[in-house]
Symmetry: C2
Amino acid sequence: MTELSTETGARRSRREGGRRRDGEARVANAIPQLPRRRSVRRFPPMEILSGDEVEAIHQASLKVLEEIGMDFTLAEARDLLKQAGARIEGERVRFDRHMVEEFICSAPPHFTFHARNPQNTVEIGGDEMVFGTVGSPPNSSDMDNGRRSGNLADFHNFLKLAQYFNCIGFISGYAVEPIDVHASIRHLVALRDTAILTDKPFHAYSLGKERICDGIEIARIARGITADELEREPSLFTIVNTNSPLKLDAPMLRGIIEMSSRNQIVCVTPFTLAGAMAPVTVAGALVEQNAEALAGMVFTQVVRKGSPFIYGGFTSNVDMKSGAPAFGTPEYMKACIAGGQLARRYNVPYRTSNTCAANTVDAQAAYESVFSLWGVTMGGGNLIMHGAGWLEGGLVASFEKFVLDCDLIQMVMEFLTPLDVSADALGVDAIREVGPGGHFFGAAHTLARYEHAFYTPIISDWRNNQQWLAAGKPEAWQKANTVYKQALAEYKEPPIDPAIREELDAFVARRKQEGGAPTDF
Amino acid sequence: MTELSTETGARRSRREGGRRRDGEARVANAIPQLPRRRSVRRFPPMEILSGDEVEAIHQASLKVLEEIGMDFTLAEARDLLKQAGARIEGERVRFDRHMVEEFICSAPPHFTFHARNPQNTVEIGGDEMVFGTVGSPPNSSDMDNGRRSGNLADFHNFLKLAQYFNCIGFISGYAVEPIDVHASIRHLVALRDTAILTDKPFHAYSLGKERICDGIEIARIARGITADELEREPSLFTIVNTNSPLKLDAPMLRGIIEMSSRNQIVCVTPFTLAGAMAPVTVAGALVEQNAEALAGMVFTQVVRKGSPFIYGGFTSNVDMKSGAPAFGTPEYMKACIAGGQLARRYNVPYRTSNTCAANTVDAQAAYESVFSLWGVTMGGGNLIMHGAGWLEGGLVASFEKFVLDCDLIQMVMEFLTPLDVSADALGVDAIREVGPGGHFFGAAHTLARYEHAFYTPIISDWRNNQQWLAAGKPEAWQKANTVYKQALAEYKEPPIDPAIREELDAFVARRKQEGGAPTDF
């Protein structure tokens, strides 16, 4: 959000009680947004493991790294690790536990992630929670036109929604893969458009040297800073997924080398579905997750001591009948919360996700997502990937789910705000004024507060049955469908310095002319 | 659940991995239920108020009771309170803070709530969580026949579902009001049928002397015990709703007198919707809730020191645009969690609810319910009313929502089970066996565990998009619709001693002949 539109959002939010506070014209049917603000968890995160149990997982992961090791498929990475003390045998890298303990000390506990609009710069770590868009689905969908392959038009529309909704703190990657843009130049088009259509911090994929270096350059140009300044101010992040079990592929390792060496943000997220790529027990999957995340963390710190690292957790389970991935399950919640305990064991920020496995925006999509958010929030998640729009286990970016998730995220943000327990809020005088058998609708205490007393939802339909029937029995997804179109209609491109835009366009044009990036990865 | 059907449920649950463990024939499409078991919260409940803030609410409530007081509309109740030290002025009762502090010490921190089937007896308080059915909606609905006035046939079907689903621990009242039974004898019919069609512990309404005394007698007969034994073993509970703000009506007070004097369970639940019957601030609504709950608690202990009492919290907010009640909101979650802190301040069990305001079983119904369960679970709820079936802010008991909620409750129960972090579960040898780049589907560790490794949901559809499309794009409510009918078809009436059944029928027949209860309340 630009300064201007944030202010508009805040005004809207102040007006949502239904009456004008000042002389302004009322925005009819304004989408009730919270103002752009930080989300800070003010209670200790939940713990489902004892200290001894956290230590048991830690020790088991060290054993895995020491005895079994992990395959690193990039020679340059193996050379760096060898110099740092790892044992190399072919592609296999084994880590002495003392080496691991030494290298995991240097990653910072929290850091600033810079956006081209300073108002959208976010803090990562500690008690902060920042929610991003869905990232990487190959398909998109809305209720009007159904499920389709990802394309640039939908990609743009998701960027506009990401910019429009104040609760979205960052762009998680491509909300949907724009498959209609050739893979050699897709990253150039997508990242340029991300930097133009939004002014929030963003992500670049670690798919080989050219792509990640182009991403770093686009982030630098968009912020209008020098390479030195960029090194001081992390302005790009990348998710490095291990190829679980126990493998880190060359394009990803190249990403770590380019990003960490420039002090940009690397989040290593093992993809440990219990029963498939990881042991069938949640504890076993966590051991594998932890071993892989630690290996990634060590490598970032070998590349550059003190570079910003995020511990990624993505442990869930599969349906053992079909092998299908399951999300938002009790197992997912536990893995989320235990993962937070592990990340805090290493004193680094924690990445989790708002997930579901539903095929459509029905009750299942909602309950799996809220169970996910329960685990994410109570578990102390800092960077929340796939915050809005994720459907079908990540195979689909849904426009309706995006809006629904924004409502869920806003509710979590409101849940995080402390209760006002001032003498005034305790309201004894209001209770005295009304007395037994009365009501509070007209009390002075009520009249002074009613406009902003409670969260106003984006989606929830609280009309009574008669009104709801008369309105044609709308379901939540229908409201979400209306709202996403309204948001797109109201979207305003954030201002950008024309010189920066020109430099961005020139860079992208040149790199396109050079052929972009190889597609044989 | 009878012993027999519980065993069947457990067997089914063990079989849900898809393969036979023993020689039995497989039950095709068995509803995947958890076995009947206790739910114990093994982590400390969440706190959103500091100790000082809890104390501020406590002190404000004492001030309300001392200075403003509360109307008790039954002379006998006022007389009892006067003898105990309260100040009476007309119907108004004011409580000296020392009197309150004195009388709230004697209620037990936890107690046993007896069912006619000892296997269904539950513990109330401490870290135990017990989930009940929806209670008291005037309407019922299913997707086939829509919304209709409550009737005896639907009432019976909800009882059957309550009996069928292992996760349902008690009957919260009439899951739907059987309006087609005359009000004078409705309680006789409804409670007799509850005691016959289920063998779980149940509720009777405090609507004057006859009804509650009939309820107590039916509970006694159903258990086959004497009045003395009943006094030693609480076997019935009643919800006493205050007439907020600050009023306790005669039929409810009569209920407390009859129930507490016989050592049966009284739960006082103020109905404090912030902005309507309570101050527009959550803190103010909590002050009012707390004052009313404390007044009720004092009265139960005045009637009989040490009688079982449950602190009821039901604070939510209204939509200030329309006055419509809102549920499952951020405000509801906070009130749930703060309410738990207050109940623990007084060292008594805590009652909360699984609520929503949705008109249909869509995404809204699901997210409002899971947000409720989040507050309920993290807040340390012990007795969870309206656990399954609540829709439209309690105006409708929905068959599909009942099944959906059973799935949600089961997921909470699974979330509550501790992670197994034994050396075996950590699975280092499995990780060694599979190694980098492999998969765990065929690992020995997986094969030994896959049948029971993960929670099997009742509703969630994890099929891939092609399979889901081929199945006709079913939504969650459609699965719930199928399951509730299957559960009704599979329901088995629990065994009952013929002599007890005869005594029950004779009692009900006699009381019907006597005209039942007056209907001029």
